[in-house]
């Protein structure tokens, strides 16, 4: 809990709407502040990136990162809302967290989100698909 309070004290200015649950904390982060928050979580707090979830809602696309603070069992989940659904783009966190490479490639593949600064942004799973997918899978959901 002390760690969580310290996180809020130091990063409070950069985070928006927050939902706190036992052992879980979900908070909004502007895409311009994302790398700063991730840097703090990964390098200062030694959190581990479990994964990231991209979701399409009625108005937005959102990317929810899941950072696990293994020493305390808490989850820190920064949420980035993307309002431009036609050309979604946010900064890549792969230069900070090496393990995010495949996670971001998967989101690029299925959701069409461009991760600016990613060292190798190519489709992960649907590359060379037999049906020759020319657009992200999310556009095929209503078929």
């Amino acid at each position: 809990m002390a760690k969580m309070d310290q996180f809020f004290a130091e990063m409070g200015g950069l985070i928006g709407k927050t939902i706190r649950k036992p052992k879980r904390i979900y908070f909004d982060v502007d895409k311009n502040n994302l790398t700063q928050v991730v840097e703090y979580l990964f390098n200062r707090m030694h959190c581990r990136l479990s994964t990231a979830t991209a979701t399409e809602t009625y108005h937005n696309l959102e990317v929810l990162y899941h950072f696990s603070h293994d020493a305390s069992g808490d989850y820190y989940c920064p949420r980035v809302l993307i309002t431009d659904k036609q050309k979604p783009a946010i900064p890549s966190i792969t230069p900070i967290v090496r393990g995010a490479e495949w996670i971001e490639r998967e989101m690029f593949d299925f959701w069409g989100i461009e991760f600016i600064g990613h060292p190798n942004l190519i489709r992960l799973l649907a590359r060379d698909h037999p049906q020759g997918l020319d657009k992200p899978l999310r556009f095929r959901r209503d078929k």
Partner: protein
Amino acid sequence: MNKNQIPVGPFHPLLEEAEYFNITVEGETVTDIEMDIGWMHRGHEFISEQKTFTQSIFLVERICGICSTSHPIACVHAIEDIDNVEIPLRARYIRTLVAELERIHSHLLWLGLAGHFIGYDTLWMWAWKYREPILQMFEIISGNRNHYGMMRVGGVARDVDVDKIAALSKILDQVDEKMEMIAKAANDDPVLKSRLQGVGILKHQDAVNFCAVGPTARASGVKIDVRKDEPTDAYDLVDFKVIVLKNGDVYDKTVVRLLEIFESSKIIRQCMKKLRTANGPILNSVKEIPPGEGIGRYEAPRGEVFHYMRSDGSNRPIRHKVRAPSFNNIPTYIASCKGIPLADALITLAAVDPCYCCTERAIRINHSAEGAQPIDLLRLSREKTERIRRTIHGA
């Protein structure tokens, strides 16, 4: 020196599942490795969003035949996390019992494969032979040898009564005896040590950077285990040790798994003892899932399996994210394979116990791989073991 590229896969007798590696070698040394996945993607996340919460549990059970308890446990944890659902004590012990049995059978499966890859076919036969009684135990518990269908939101589907516990105890005693024999044989064998020590080292910092999980991380000195870090089910009620080693080589990964088998056995015995006395319900009735989001995770045999669920108050998830441990562990090849001899590449690839069914959760045909000449890494690996054996035993 000339660089050569060796393509392996996507369909190759050596590989149990469809994956593609492009290994760059200079002479005998691996200088780079590229991985290409996507042949097994089945769109589980999208399918799950068309199903009810209860159906999702059965769906995720079929992501992987080996982790057929880990995925459902993480899935029910995620659903329970949305509304903080309470689990009856007896159900908590039953979940832990089934999950730990799964760990033993998964580790034995890996141990057998590892033995086969380095030319220890006896170890392979032994490990798989003594995995059979574990599958029988599952049959006693659930009626199935795989895909047990035990997990429900709020508890478990079937009880494990006293008669079943007596039958399970008897089998476990026999398995324990055989495990000690296998562990001793593996530990005392100088050829096995020479073959595996110092091979495919994953450094501590690399394990942290790649966010590795499970035995892959623990063998590199990263002390993470969901069972201790965020104890759910009965893990806060049983006594067990987290096995952490520091070298990060294939040998340490093997030892971590071997020792974990004994810890699992210890946990199973504690659970069975408690199940004799802890009477009560096994399922709390959950009528509806309110709007919200939940994270569920569980320490599968390969590491942390992660599920995220979001509900809008209806009877089905509007988002269901699945992340299997191999998804995080497979990219560590980039760190562990560079600089090693080609004969060691196979066992290094196998050492993270990769599971592609889990990782990809489509079926894809690669036309560009036509004409690629496969190389028999299995033969190379087994020949190296044979050379070491001859040097040590002087044959």
